[in-house]
């Protein structure tokens, strides 16, 4: 597999549903060994995290009543919130320079948070508006 092929894979992995890292593993597996390669990549990329998360989960259910563990979990949760905020800020920063996209982003966030709009509807309506906007923008002749 050459560099261009890998970058293509990364791009599809990011566009399609599913975790980027798993999709990229599937893509590489499939390019190298076809569908059996993809199956092997799927197992290799999903079973180890599954087992690790299960061990973490078993410990969680066993010890989460302990006050020290409670404290640690509360601290970790606050840290994960901070990471999510950082991620959201970075992604929003990439949208700067186009007010229509920023408004769309904000309306999506508010509608989902406070009106609990179902995900499918969000993707159809706000994703659809975004795609139409992008289409018009691409079509418009450069001034």
């Amino acid at each position: 597999m050459d560099r261009d092929c890998f970058m293509d894979g990364l791009e599809i992995a990011q566009i399609l549903p599913g975790p980027n890292i798993l999709n990229l593993a599937l893509y590489c597996g499939q390019r190298v060994r076809g569908v059996p390669g993809a199956v092997a990549a799927f197992l290799g990329a999903s079973i180890p995290p599954f087992i690790i998360v299960l061990i973490a989960g078993a410990l969680y259910f066993k010890y989460s009543a302990n006050p020290f563990v409670q404290g640690a979990l509360r601290g970790c949760a606050a840290g994960a919130l901070g990471l999510t905020v950082g991620n959201a800020l970075e992604l929003a920063w990439d949208e700067r320079g186009d007010w229509a996209r920023i408004v769309l982003l904000a309306v999506t966030a508010l509608t989902v948070s406070f009106l609990h709009m179902p995900l499918l509807l969000v993707l159809v309506v706000f994703g659809g508006i975004g795609i139409v906007h992008q289409y018009v923008k691409t079509r418009r002749p450069k001034q």
Partner: protein
């Protein structure tokens, strides 16, 4: 609730999230919270946030924390619930990826490739902002917790430390100050 029914609910819920997980699954957190906490009451808001945190802490995709929701949802057979939730979370999107790879050659040169990925981005980022609210609902309401979150945000944006290290350090602060 009947055990088999519960497993089918898990399967169907996570399979839908899998198929709708555009943008690396970043946007599915609010819907997953709605299904797991409000609709089926498999977990509490606090547990949901803590499972998400464990998902961020372990290597691999964050959404593997679906296993923990499945684990909590099926008290009689937690391993079965965990396996069902994880398979439902990962198999449908993987099948799409494998099938789509064959079509990719035709799609590669099409302008729609960029239009779709760029056009979906604002909605996905909006969903990520909504995830902030979702995750915040399970965080302790305290000055220390919010201070930890702010410091972690700053350190993450400055790329000082990796995500798991930041979470573990937050845990240390938690043991000291959030007991």
């Amino acid at each position: 609730m009947n055990g088999v029914d519960n497993l089918l609910h898990l399967l169907w819920t996570f399979a839908q999230l899998s198929v709708l997980g555009f943008g690396g699954g970043k946007g599915i957190i609010p819907q997953m919270h709605y299904d797991a906490v409000t609709r089926y009451q498999w977990v509490t808001s606090q547990q949901f946030t803590q499972f998400y945190t464990i998902g961020k802490l372990v290597p691999g995709p964050t959404t593997v924390f679906a296993a923990l929701v499945g684990y909590a949802a099926t008290p009689g057979r937690p391993l079965l619930g965990a396996a069902v939730a994880t398979i439902a979370m990962f198999v449908p999107s993987s099948a799409i990826m494998v099938v789509f790879d064959a079509l990719w050659v035709r799609f590669q040169a099409s302008p729609w490739r960029v239009i779709i990925s760029q056009g979906l981005a604002p909605a996905i980022v909006g969903l990520v902002w909504s995830s902030v609210w979702t995750i915040a609902r399970g965080v302790e309401v305290s000055a220390v917790a919010y201070a930890v979150a702010v410091v972690v945000t700053v350190l993450m944006l400055r790329r000082k430390l990796s995500a798991p290290v930041l979470i573990l350090l937050s845990g240390v602060v938690g043991v000291a100050a959030l007991r």
